[in-house]
């Protein structure tokens, strides 16, 4: 089914289940430990043995020799595989810049070079330490600040250099009566999800099954085929529960590849979980950025010139972190420039992490707006409202599908008590704490992608939904059940949802904030086909019938859904071209109050509020969880998260959760989330968009702006740890 025109009035406008706060249907399984994660799937195949990955000890160079003899002889060891078993690297899967295994070259620290397989985890780990590897170290580039000045433009749309202009920025900026020009740094960050990369792999002849933890099942299947050189049809991927991914699990990583190779080598199923240090240096992270923002405005606050340039680095000089992404969309201004540069670095691989691009971009742009407001002597909310565009600023021929940013900011200001903020920084104090308030706008796209599902009547008045869609902790099980229940007129508890198996119809998967909108539309399409099939079977026109309370009414006739017996239908939602006339985005106003200790510079976040405009909210309960989780991550980005780069040895030094600090409960105050009651007919029949990434676009900047409002000290290098401003705090008495 193609969604090829704006949605008209439909059943979701009168919904009884969709849009209502609904506890997760998978909640009881999770709280009782009955939702097994990949590493815990002891029952899926017999004879599992444990693999332990050895990571390279250097950042760049070549393996001269590897002695695995002692490891092979160690107790319990059933096999050892080495990267040197392969003359050259295995081909990369989707978005793998560095090979995941094979060959003598080392592309980054902790790249997988061997795996020991043993009867127990402890035996495998202990034997792994017996492998002796000699390296020939090569020099590498590990310092973004040094590499940035010579970095070329990244590849943008269609492979063209990623630079866009409108009007004449230089001229307008030079002429602007008020302007700011500032540089911001965001550090490398780790996804730091609780569940590590983990896979159990088993072969049956040519056929491979991986029970794994992955956000994108169809991509995983295809990539495993490519990497292992087997037909994708021979790969089955199963990932019904995912303990967090945040983009780290969009693509196949070494756990799956090495488990598959190891299972083949020892002729038994092999299970591997990546140890935490490897999570950081073997797998991917959010890349550091350097961003320069220049904005010129008239005295009344109207922006006349805006430029946002971004530098990041990555292995192979591809796929950086593009902090400029939101800038063409957010504020008006006739003269514009965005440019995105990418340096080649030999650090571990950078890749997508929750709201790639925008999460970092807002940390620069939304602080720049605060700086501009101050230069203008204007309230930062008023400044943003004054620059609310009519059409998309950088591509004025494009319309917004729906945009209520001004409402987010106004309603948020009201609710948060913005009027109590002192415009002059450093003026609010409670005891030894300096108090400040900050605001930021938030934007993130609301994309959709083809998504399919199968729905089956079980004959007893219930139904089952089958799709390879994943629930990465976001609440997908529940919104899919809500959608199916609503469409088929069943109570929620009559719908069983099964996810994450590549044997099911392919879905959009979980990523880029497209999952909720796309997968529910796919389930809706399948349900409509099922309604037609039921009509055919029972002799009525499925299009006109009413499905309600487990019954079907059509004209004078009425059936129980169970009368249709067992019946199955597949469906897929594709999204038509008409959408490309519109900019479909999600918007938010983010607010934060902080206290900064006048002696020590410690920052405590005291209150946070997000007001979100994301179309119909399918399940306010789980949507709120998504947003507050993202706000927590934003506090981490603003105040503490920082992968420390050793620029000599080329690796992230603080590679465990003791060294890489993420917020703990004591860091997080009460968080409020308000969803505007909007719908967006351009998105899908459900008129809903995602929120999971919107929540991380802006709150970090609101924190930074609040710290400035509290202290009068502007720190442009994230995270805002106290060492960066201690010497500028007021002298204590």
């Amino acid at each position: 089914m193609e969604f090829n025109a704006p949605a008209g009035e439909n059943l979701f406008d009168k919904a009884k289940i969709v849009g209502k706060s609904t506890p997760r249907i998978d909640g009881p399984l999770k709280t009782t430990g009955k939702a097994p994660y990949a590493y815990e799937r002891h029952d899926v195949v017999a004879g599992q043995v444990y693999g332990y990955i050895v990571g390279a000890a250097i950042a760049k160079g070549r393996i001269v020799s590897m002695d695995t003899a002692a490891a092979r002889k160690a107790p319990g060891v059933v096999g050892v595989i080495s990267t040197l078993d392969h003359a050259k690297p295995l081909p990369p899967g989707m978005q793998n810049n560095a090979p995941l295994f094979g060959g003598a070259q080392v592309a980054h620290y902790h790249q997988a070079i061997a795996c020991v397989i043993a009867e127990t985890f402890e035996q495998a780990r202990s034997a792994a330490a017996l492998i002796l590897t000699r390296y020939d170290r090569a020099p590498g580039a590990f310092d973004l600040a040094r590499a940035a000045p010579d970095a070329p433009l990244a590849k943008g749309d269609g492979g063209k250099p990623d630079r866009a202009t409108l009007g004449d920025f230089d001229k307008a900026f030079a002429a602007a009566p008020v302007k700011i020009d500032a540089r911001y740094h965001t550090p490398d960050e780790s996804h730091a999800m609780m569940e590590p990369f983990a896979t159990i792999a088993a072969w049956e002849g040519e056929k491979l099954t991986v029970w794994t933890s992955n956000q994108m099942i169809a991509w995983a299947k295809k990539s495993l085929g490519t990497i292992l050189g087997i037909a994708a049809e021979n790969v089955r991927v199963d990932s019904p529960y995912v303990g967090g991914g945040f983009g780290g699990k969009l693509f196949i990583r070494a756990d799956a590849v090495v488990a598959a190779l190891a299972a083949k080598a020892v002729g038994r199923p092999v299970k591997i979980a990546m140890q935490r240090p490897l999570m950081i240096n073997n797998a991917t992270h959010r890349h550091a950025t350097i961003q320069r923002v220049r904005i010129g405005a008239e005295q009344d606050g109207r922006i006349t010139a805006i430029a946002h340039e971004n530098w990041s680095g990555n292995l192979g000089g591809e796929d950086g972190e593009n902090g400029t992404l939101q800038t063409p969309k957010l504020y008006a201004g006739a003269n514009r420039l965005t440019a995105n540069y990418i340096a080649t670095l030999d650090l571990p691989e950078g890749n997508a992490m929750r709201a790639p691009g925008e999460a970092s971009g807002h940390l620069a742009l939304e602080v720049a707006m605060d700086e501009l407001a101050e230069a203008l002597g204007m309230d930062p909310i008023e400044l943003r409202i004054r620059n609310e565009p009519e059409t998309v600023p950088a591509t004025p021929e494009m319309r917004f599908s729906s945009r209520n940013l001004v409402r987010c900011l106004r309603e948020g200001a009201d609710k948060f008590g913005w009027s109590r903020r002192s415009a002059e920084p450093g003026k609010m104090r409670e005891g030894n704490w300096l108090i400040g308030m900050g605001v930021a706008a938030g934007y993130r796209g609301g994309p959709t992608a083809t998504s399919g599902a199968r729905v089956r009547l079980t004959g007893d008045g219930g139904m089952v939904v089958e799709t390879d869609m994943t629930d990465i902790g976001t609440g997908t099980y529940t919104i899919i059940a809500q959608t199916a229940a609503e469409t088929m007129g069943l109570p929620l508890e009559k719908v069983r949802v099964t996810l994450g198996d590549s044997a099911f119809p392919a879905s959009a998967g979980s990523g880029g904030q497209w999952g909720a909108a796309s997968s529910t539309a796919g389930v809706y399409a399948a349900c409509l086909n099922l309604r037609r099939a039921i009509g055919q079977k029972l002799g009525f026109n499925g299009e006109d019938a009413t499905f309600e309370n487990g019954r079907i009414r059509t004209g004078a006739k009425s059936f129980a859904l169970a009368d249709a017996g067992t019946l199955s239908a597949e469906g897929e939602m594709t999204f038509g071209k008409f959408k490309s006339d519109y900019e479909v985005g999600t918007y938010a106003g983010h607010f934060c109050e902080v206290a900064v200790n006048v002696y020590t510079g410690e920052t405590r976040v005291r209150r946070m509020l997000a007001v979100c405009d994301a179309g119909r909210i399918l399940n306010p309960l789980s949507a709120r969880s998504q947003v507050i989780g993202a706000m927590v991550m934003s506090v981490g980005a603003a105040l503490m998260e920082d992968l420390a780069v050793d620029k000599r040895f080329g690796f992230f030094v603080n590679h465990d959760l003791a060294g890489y600090e993420v917020p703990v409960h004591a860091d997080i105050p009460h968080q409020d989330v308000i969803f505007l009651d909007t719908t967006d007919a351009i998105v899908s029949p459900l008129k809903a968009k995602g929120v999971g990434e919107l929540g991380i676009c802006g709150p970090g900047a609101a924190v930074a702006n609040a710290v400035y409002n509290a202290t009068g000290i502007r720190v442009r290098e994230y995270p805002l740890t106290l060492d960066k401003y201690l010497d500028k705090l007021p002298r204590y008495s």
């Binding site: 000890a57 250097i58 107790p75 402890e122 780990r125 202990s126 330490a129 240090p277 030894n432 200790n597 002696y599 020590t600 510079g601 410690e602 405590r604 105040l639 503490m640 420390a644 780069v645 050793d646 000599r648 040895f649 030094v653 603080n654 590679h655 465990d656 003791a658 060294g659 600090e661 993420v662 917020p663 703990v664 409960h665 004591a666 860091d667 740890t721 106290l722 060492d723 201690l726 010497d727 705090l729 204590y732």
Partner: protein, 316 residues
């Protein structure tokens, strides 16, 4: 983790003599530090002597009016002891500022004193580290050293002693009681217990191989206002950037020790005498010989400002 053998000791002297006689033998208390280090093969003992049955888990009054804390008293039990809370508040506050509830239930008094550094290079066996592998070099000195020591360092090692409890014990003038492999006992003032790195950073403290801690004793209470202020990058569950343990009297005199700045709790008696002149006077003296790296130079100002906050807090 390397394979190891395991036994449970029945008396302190026996425990000490086993560990002294077997190369590569170590004591095991709560295991919250040692087992982690063994998993990473930073520590590779061949034999573990579990001391949990030694009945060293009591807190008793001493004849001098102080307290004798058994080596196996858990951090939780010590922090929540009524006498400790009343008379040695700085100790309770320091303990609860550390680790997490679960870890404090398991962690012992002796084990806490002996926890090893959190230098990130010490934790990565691919990297040179003189403390882990003598003579291999120090990756931290020109590397990522933000957390590391600013004073009492050497060109071999700039690691900190990361713990909190010992910083409080230092201002309380605690002593460590031990039994030697030959059954003799000795007492070591806490001031002399942890070692500065010098040329032998692999030795964290004054204990000999096989020497078992049996207790930590505190002198009679000294009154005053007891404060422990720990500054870190997040609000809880992190090691100190800088911490201050202080016992302050109403006339502005008192005692102060700093954590997170050296390989031992950093108390300079001559500096502490300047307390009535304020935080700067104390910090200037305590850190006169500091040799920070560019990454951690902020700790000196942070120590001063944290002490200022403590002095302010003591005024009430």
């Amino acid at each position: 983790m390397k394979a190891f053998s395991y036994e449970r000791a029945t008396s302190p002297a026996q425990a000490a003599s086993i560990v002294a006689s077997k190369p590569g033998a170590r004591f095991l208390a709560g295991g919250t530090n040692l087992l982690d280090l063994m998993k990473l093969e930073i520590e590779t003992p061949s034999h573990l002597v579990d001391v949990q049955d030694l009945k060293l888990d009591r807190i008793e009054k001493t004849d001098q009016g102080g307290l004798r804390i058994g080596a196996l008293v858990s951090n939780t039990a010590l922090a929540s002891d009524e006498t400790v809370r009343r008379d040695y508040g700085v100790l309770t506050r320091a303990i609860v500022a550390g680790a997490s509830g679960q870890l404090r239930n398991k962690a012992t008094t002796a084990g806490n004193l002996l926890q090893r550094t959190r230098c990130p290079y010490f934790y990565d066996t691919n990297q040179p580290c003189n403390k882990r592998k003598p003579g291999s070099g120090c990756a931290a000195i020109d590397g990522f050293s933000r957390q590391l020591a600013v004073v009492g360092t050497s060109d071999k090692c700039i690691a900190t002693y990361p713990g909190d409890m010992a910083v409080a014990l230092r201002v309380l003038d605690a002593t460590v009681e031990t039994v030697l492999p030959d059954g003799k006992v000795r007492t070591i003032p806490l001031a002399d217990f942890h070692r500065l790195p010098g040329t032998t950073p692999e030795r964290d403290n004054a204990l000999e191989q096989g020497e078992l801690i049996t207790a930590v004793t505190l002198p009679a209470p000294i009154g005053g206002t007891h404060i422990y202020y720990k500054v870190r990058d997040r609000a809880s569950y992190a090691f100190a950037l800088v911490s201050v343990a202080a016992v302050l009297r109403p006339d502005g005199t008192g005692r102060v020790a700093f954590g997170g700045v050296a390989a031992k709790p950093w108390r300079v008696e001559a500096a502490e005498a300047a307390l009535p002149q304020g935080a700067k006077a104390v910090a200037d003296r305590a850190f006169a010989d500091a040799k920070p790296t560019p990454d951690n130079a902020f700790k000196i100002m942070l120590a001063e400002r944290t002490l200022a906050a403590v002095i302010d807090q003591a005024k009430g």
